[in-house]
Symmetry: C2
Subunit: 383 residues, 2 copies
């Protein structure tokens, strides 16, 4: 980044890194990056504010898209929605926004705040409230720290505006999801708008910078500036993030549907290379949430599960996953805030109805079992 500014040149790398941290969700990073680049081109670079540089007088606006990623690639967010949402939060709270922030660093939702910042002439905060993407509105570090959603703004491209004041994060999600479905499956949302003091306490700092570093590696430069071959990139990424390579395989089956304002489904992979003979299953609700290898836990939310193109290392969203794609699956340890009892209660496997216990991804044994074909088929069906 150019000093403490984001220019058009930074956007593609941030979008690429945010697609990894988005674990398949967070809205389409490409669509978001086009909007961010266009608005920076029109309005100039965006100042980047460190979380610790926020003052108590700041009023920080997390803004992003809510809904099924499958919708977000078809119905592009209108720029007018961003300003309408800012105006609505200012009117509802009676406080002028001084900075915008990603509610989640993942996917397109890393881009929307940059686009908004460019449009409104505000700085963007180098941090977010998840350190990744999650599918539900209450899955934010504000909620973990006991802060409610506050005045919550939703606007759509028709010009509808909804400002709710839900009693807690769970109600916020319920109301917002119902409104999202009615608005056509996607909307622009502001929630957890707080002063700089609360954001300093709650936000996960440095995640836009982290996204940029990831993007840089995936585009072929390591931290030291050394050029990476295509086949070195995933390993370099894993080394940088303390991530685990879980599996390499080919997408053999894919179920995916837009359901209740989410994109839900599962992908089955047949192993290739060292993983030949093993089966792997990914369950997702907007984001990749559960990975099982031959029926055994490989990684589970809140740890990050990301799918990358096996040849190029490019991240693949749940929406762009295709039958026959050859992919690598990696897992990244989540931020420690998600590993607390409150974090696991909020976004752990039980919340999503998965009958597995959370185990830190780095502690899950990785022996590669060569199961007889019959056993594997059975497990694949049972999973």
């Amino acid at each position: 980044m150019t000093g403490a500014q984001l220019t058009e040149a930074d956007i593609d790398e941030i979008a690429l890194g945010a697609a990894v941290l988005g674990t398949g969700g967070g809205g389409d990073p490409h669509v978001g990056s086009l909007m961010a680049k266009r608005l920076i081109r029109l309005h100039g670079p965006v100042a980047l504010r460190g979380v610790d540089d926020l003052t108590d007088d700041d009023f920080v606006i997390p803004i992003g898209g809510i809904g099924a990623p499958s919708v977000s690639v078809e119905r592009i967010q209108a720029e007018s929605e961003l300003l309408a949402a800012l105006a609505a939060i200012e009117r509802a709270v009676g406080r002028r926004p001084t900075a915008v922030m990603p509610i989640e660093v993942g996917g397109g939702n890393s881009m929307i705040p940059i686009a908004t910042a460019a449009l409104a002439g505000l700085p963007v905060v180098d941090g977010d409230a998840m350190g990744r993407a999650f599918p539900e509105a209450q899955m934010v570090t504000f909620h973990l720290a006991g802060y409610g959603p506050g005045a919550t703004v939703m606007v759509d491209h028709h010009g509808n505006e909804v400002v709710s004041r839900p009693v807690d994060g769970a109600w916020s999600e319920r109301i917002a999801r119902a409104v999202t479905v009615e608005m056509g499956g996607g909307a622009t949302m502001i929630d957890y708008a707080y002063g700089g003091d609360v954001v300093r306490e709650c936000a996960i700092p440095g995640t836009l910078t982290l996204a940029k570093r990831i993007g840089r590696i995936l585009r072929g430069r390591d931290a030291a500036g050394r050029e990476l071959r295509d086949d070195e990139r995933i390993d370099a990424l894993c080394a940088d993030l303390d991530a685990v390579r879980l599996f390499e395989g080919k997408v053999a089956d894919l179920q995916r549907a837009v359901d209740g304002g989410f994109t839900r489904g599962a992908a089955e992979l047949d192993g290739v290379g060292a993983d030949r003979g093993s089966a792997f299953r990914l369950d997702f609700q907007n984001e990749m949430l559960l990975a099982r290898r031959d029926g055994a836990l490989a990684a589970v939310t809140p740890d990050l599960i990301s799918v990358l193109d096996l040849a190029t290392g490019m991240p693949i969203t749940t929406e762009s996953l295709r039958y026959g794609a050859r992919v690598a699956v990696i897992a990244i340890p989540c931020h420690e805030k998600w590993r607390t009892p409150m974090g696991l209660l909020t976004a752990g496997p039980a919340h999503f109805g998965y009958d597995v216990d959370w185990v830190p991804v780095e502690d899950i044994p990785r022996e590669r079992r060569a199961l007889p074909d019959s056993a594997r088929t059975t497990e694949g069906k049972a999973a």
Copy 2:
């Protein structure tokens, strides 16, 4: 009414009349009347303001319940919701309410504004925006005159608050219905809050007074103060309202379900007395909307179709309708505003998907056909 005041003694008669005008919906009148009486007892009588007495400086708040009547009898609206809704509209619009008004005179929604007025020390307007009850939020005279819903408040008993600014009445209904379902099938709502000038232009005047007059007749006194026998009441009511006695029968079949924030269903009646040998069907969505006799149109929305206990004349809501009940069905010509092209487009049969043309109820021929049994059975099934 005691001069221009509503006392506890007025409430039961208004509730009774509003149950007739509610055509089966509008929320439970009994539950509403208990709340209105309690709050008048606590806070004193409520001043009644004529529609024409409103000044341009007035800010009039239509308040009521939204949702399935089946829910409203199980989950009683909390008094705290009424004040929360008033506070929310004042905050959203920046204007202090000077009067409350029924959005619809029907059912419990005639009572909620009186209860709110008592609680807040405000007058209640003797008028409403339907002249009856309708199931959907845009079915109001404001909409017919081209006025949008404006800032629309919804609160529930959990303490959730939603303020939407929908682009038009149809969007208001969509968003409000989705939020209602999420709030548990019922909520307190304020919409179409306007200044006295707009209310003078749009409201249907005198409908609380009308409800009281209906209630008085059904309790056994005609306009001249003469006492009525039980079996004279329905005829007296029809004479007073220019209403038509459509049918007398026994409920032979009843389908009713809570679906998408509405109570939907149909009742089949077997004729008794002069109607013996005929079959009658009532279709409802919160309100009674379509009446067919032996398969032929008997009355249809926007005209009012009301079901009364055959013996006592007491109105029966769609929710309290029971198998075996002996009822009289009457139809009341709707207010002329609903008989315009815009009125029929908004609340006529086509809007509800009924494949019948609207005919003014007073113009529908009433010959009593004695069909052979076989034909009647077939029609009953096809209807």
